[in-house]
């Protein structure tokens, strides 16, 4: 008899199906201490892959990180026993899905230490979150001549929306330069402020160089001048303990897929008072309280900014991902990654013909590099032949490349599941590139 799958006696108390068979045992959250990278790696099925007979060495985590079994299981459980549309019907599944979706919001709230859960808006990712601020805040409050301060380090996603706003409103973009190490020139940053400065857009951690920016200092300075600050935290949240109240930023944007979660989900944190003043970005269902053809009343935050059926499974998966990361501990993650960064940096610094681009004192586990006489694409293809996955190109940060007069770099970016042996594989791979092109 298959008792579990028998139809429930009462439609209001259905029997929940178990998660996919055989995976429940692996779904426990990892123990906090001590940091055991091999045990953590066992949680990531994809890390067992072989690429052309060579073990995968996945060093493209800044582009997207991999997903542990715990998150995969959570997605399976949601789709097999919890899915319905949220915020709508009174039936069991809709209420379950709504509860789980909102539980995920609270997990994200705790993860970044937001004051209130309504300050956590689910978006499709960092790009969507920044565009939300541009449309919701920028288009409502900016006028001709208002100034936005951005930095040379910014990803295109924190440049292009503001250029679009500048084109539409006549606002002006000012850019903070960087030094040869890839660090922001804070004096220059402070000199850019004037009466017309309205917003600072700055990334927490540079995706192209790894630089960790002195956010607290910058935000305090901006606030002293009455200027709001939007932080692109896409590269910071996976690697550092982020506390938005401690930073005191006005907006903080990040993506789920760089955080061991699914693609298509991200977060915009915003201070409640600001979010309430902003206009909606997208119109549709869920973001309204009432609609007539004469007048529509918008919903309260966060729903005002979440028009339409959201990626419910992705949000719940992201909730599971931050549970997973929190169980390991962001401090332990940061410590392990710093160890990988220092080990790789020491080795690569000693290699003739290899140049590290971005040597900030305060860096996350990202190494952009060039190999003399070899185009980054050739470096990437040859490393791939050894199973080593790195990113090559301009990293959606062409102003950074222009600053260093480079068309592109190769970039190795480490996650907490990478090992010192994998750094060795990268180094051996670079030596092989040099041998081929000798």
């Amino acid at each position: 008899m298959n008792a579990v799958q028998t139809a429930p006696a009462s439609r209001f108390a259905p029997v929940l199906l178990p998660a996919a068979p055989g995976v429940i045992a692996t779904s426990k959250l990892p123990a906090k201490e001590p940091f055991d990278v091999e045990r953590i790696r066992a949680d990531f099925p994809i890390l067992q892959l072989q690429i052309d007979g060579k073990p995968l060495v996945y060093l493209d985590n800044a582009a997207s990180s991999q997903m542990p079994q715990q998150v995969i299981d959570r997605l399976v459980r949601y789709q097999t026993s919890e899915h319905a549309n949220i915020n709508r019907a009174v039936h069991y599944l809709s209420e379950t899905a709504t509860a789980e979706h909102e539980a995920a919001r609270r997990k994200l709230q705790r993860f970044i230490n937001a004051r209130e859960e309504r300050e956590v808006i689910f978006t499709s990712g960092t790009t969507d979150a920044i565009n939300l601020v541009m449309h919701g805040y920028g288009r409502k409050f900016f006028k001709a001549g208002d100034e936005i301060i951005l930095t040379t380090l910014e990803h295109h996603s924190n440049i292009v929306p503001w250029q679009m706003l500048a084109e539409e409103t006549g606002a002006v973009i000012r850019v903070v330069p960087i030094n040869d190490a890839g660090e922001l020139l804070i004096d220059e940053f402070e000199n850019l402020f004037n009466m017309r400065t309205k917003l600072v857009g700055v990334m927490h951690v540079s995706n192209a160089l790894g630089t960790i920016n002195p956010l607290k200092q910058m935000i305090a300075f901006a606030h002293a001048h009455g200027v709001r600050v939007l932080v692109d935290g896409a590269q910071a949240v996976p690697h550092l303990q982020v506390d938005v109240q401690d930073l005191d930023c006005d907006f903080y944007a990040f993506s789920g897929h760089k955080l061991c979660g699914p693609t298509g989900i991200g977060v915009l944190y915003g201070k409640a008072a600001l979010l309430e003043k902003m206009q909606p970005f997208k119109g549709g269902g869920d973001m309204i309280l009432s609609v007539t053809f004469e007048k529509t009343t918008y919903n309260t935050i966060p729903h005002k900014f979440e028009a339409g059926t959201p990626p419910i499974a992705a949000a719940i998966g992201l909730g599971a991902a931050v549970d997973y990361l929190s169980a390991i501990g962001m401090d332990a993650i940061a410590a392990h990654e710093l160890n990988l960064l220092n080990y790789a940096t020491a080795q690569m610094t000693r290699m003739p013909g290899v140049r590290i681009i971005g040597t900030a004192k305060n860096k996350a586990s990202v190494i952009s590099f060039t190999v003399d006489g070899v185009h980054p694409h050739d470096v990437g293809t040859l490393l791939n032949q050894e199973g080593v996955a790195v990113r090559t190109g301009h990293h959606c940060a062409q102003p950074v490349m222009a600053r260093f007069k480079l068309p592109a770099t190769s970039r190795a970016s480490f996650a907490f599941y990478n090992t010192l042996a994998e750094v060795d594989a990268l180094i051996d791979g670079i030596r092989n590139v040099q041998k081929v092109f000798a």
């Binding site: 185009h375 980054p376 694409h377 050739d378 293809t381 062409q398 068309p407 592109a408 081929v436 092109f437």
Partner: protein
Amino acid sequence: MANYKALYQEVILDHNKKPRNYGTLAHASHHAVGHNPLCGDHISVALNFDRECIDDIACIKFEGESCAICKASASMMTVAIKGKSRADAEILIHEFLAMATGKLDLDRPNHIGRLAVFAGVCDLPTRVKCAILPWHTLHAAFNSVASTSTEAENDPMRAPIGNA
């Protein structure tokens, strides 16, 4: 299946290191610049047709910033088409694009010759563009007017040839 690992073999590495017909052509009759927006690479191709036999390519030069695959492809392209008629060069362009995208049967009669070293690139979709950029640019150059062409008007990545 062609083995992409064969890409970084001697012929390609040699043409990358010592590109043939590299440089500018002072009085080119046809010229185009090809740009790969994915990586910022660019190749310019300049050529002159023969003064008497006006269908034949008398001189061809290329230069630019690119990866080894692209540079070697450009170098070997110039060697392959020098002295050929425009019609024959167009046939070779079509065959090369077909080969790079895995649509050419190398066992059937073709004009690929030594260019077969690029066959493996079809296994690497992100690198196909590197190999075909010079060929798209050559095609754009054939259709250019002197050197007045601009990149936007003659973007070789958008030139309507083949399915590549």
